[in-house]
């Protein structure tokens, strides 16, 4: 049993998450230029609640969701057993962001941060960010990974290699034999020196837009038409498959009577399933497949 709880930390985290949500929404609204965030305040069936913010049919974002939640309850037996502990009270605070741009030339992206505290005193952080392009550019992928690596390296040189690999393993669709996108970082059960972890988590959270927005800047004015949109809608099908079949956060939320609309905000706004679609060999669409094989994007031997 761990006793990692740090006095006052939960309150600090709650404040950070709320402020971070404000900052993310402010900057996303600004860069969208047209859409506005609609806000829903909700209560969990047991205890706690959340603040769901969603922007739909913007100029840049077809759907942007930025949620915070802070929930208390009793750990479900299945999760308790997986964590090697007994049924006990828990609290979970987190923020999650999902951006589905209208333009197929701009990658979709996801980010989340969470802090879990158990009744016995054990506590940890988790989170991550991953990029899902449709028409990928090598320099975009390198930029995204470089910014995340720098945020990691400022705290622990072991973080990026570990969290990058973890991301590749987590955001993977076995039935498609491909990654969800080009990865990023993923981490869970980050304990140890909690103040160190907390400093990293904040730094990572604040770095996220620096990893993503320059890519938006480079790609938002690229031309696209029906062909590119169709490809995006089909690729979004894979995104929906991942979130509904494999994503632990989604399934955990649904199993614990979470608020379905806030959990499923991650689903793309419009999705197409076309039987046995395969891009023509040599086409621009066929290039994506090479990017969906996990690899080291920035740690090349030179």
């Amino acid at each position: 049993m761990h006793h990692a709880r740090t006095v006052g930390l939960q309150e600090q985290i709650g404040k950070f998450l709320d402020g971070h949500q404000d900052e993310l929404c402010r900057r996303l609204k600004e860069i969208d230029g047209k859409g506005r965030f609609f806000e829903d305040l909700w209560k969990h069936v047991e205890q706690g609640g959340g603040r769901t913010r969603v922007l739909e049919r913007g100029a840049l974002f077809e759907k942007a969701g930025v949620n915070t939640s802070s929930v208390k309850g009793v750990l479900p037996a299945a999760l308790a057993s997986k964590l090697g502990t007994e049924a006990q009270r828990f609290s979970a605070s987190g923020i999650s962001l999902i951006l589905h741009p209208d333009s197929p030339m701009v990658p979709a992206v996801h980010m989340n941060l969470r802090y879990i505290e158990l009744g016995d005193g054990d506590a940890w952080f988790g989170g991550g960010a991953d990029l899902t392009p449709f028409y990928p550019y090598r320099e975009d992928v390198e930029h995204f990974h470089t910014v995340l690596k720098e945020a990691c390296d400022r705290h622990d040189p072991s973080y990026y290699p570990r969290f990058k690999r973890w991301c590749d393993e987590y955001f993977y669709l076995p039935h498609r034999n491909e990654a969800r996108g080009v990865g990023g970082i993923f981490f869970d059960e980050l304990r140890g020196d909690m103040l160190k972890s907390w400093a990293f988590v904040q730094d990572f959270g604040r770095s996220f837009l620096d990893a993503y927005l320059p890519i938006v800047g480079h790609r938002r004015d690229e031309a696209w038409g029906d062909r590119e949109k169709e490809f995006q809608l089909i690729r979004r099908g894979r995104y929906a498959e991942f979130n509904l079949v494999y994503d632990r956060g989604t399934l955990f939320g649904l199993e614990t009577n979470g608020r379905a609309e806030s959990i499923l905000i991650s689903l793309p706004p419009l999705v197409k399933w076309k039987y046995d679609y395969n891009p023509a060999p040599g086409s621009r669409e066929s290039e994506l497949q090479e990017y969906l094989k996990p690899r080291d994007w920035i740690q090349r031997t030179q």
Copy 2:
């Protein structure tokens, strides 16, 4: 341990399934009037294979899938334990049908039949059919259930009440607190007198189009526009949620290295997820909700 295997049954079943697929496709193509079935013959990674037939962008059906498969392999440990048996060889033969009409006025529908045989001699049938309307009519629901009930009653008066309730329990989305549609029948591990079960399974399979096609006839010429299509796309999101989060057949197929494109043929061709969509009170769309509460459609006390 059961020893229910009936000599020659598996071969008979294979022949029936292939012939039934031909008959279903012939009649569906005829009623569509424009689309054609594309056929894929495939091999399973272990042993066996299947015949996938799909019609896309027809006059009536936006997507129609009719698959047969016959697969042999070793029962996965998790499934073996659920069935209360040990790891052993198994064979599974089946047919599955899914129809996603273009018109929101015509209900989507699903049907499947399967026969499983284990190495130790145990064997059983499973299957079902359920209707998913968007703009429901009471008489359509009654017709669908009446035809299925008659097929059941010809073999065992206990079938329909049991299988109807089983369907209501199975095709249910707990996170939405609603049924997938208006139900039908669902059965699994049907053993006992195997020749009796087999007679029922064939009768049910042959009755299916009688349950569905008259509804198509009544609804296909009803007018609809963007509003009705949008509602259909949003409701199809629930269908995708069910199939990817809960459907045992889908998850079993994905977990056992099944052919992803044949399994996921059940997903709707185009789907919309709109944050916290709720039909306006009193609108035609709001009427659906009442139909998604399981109830006895034809066994009313009169």
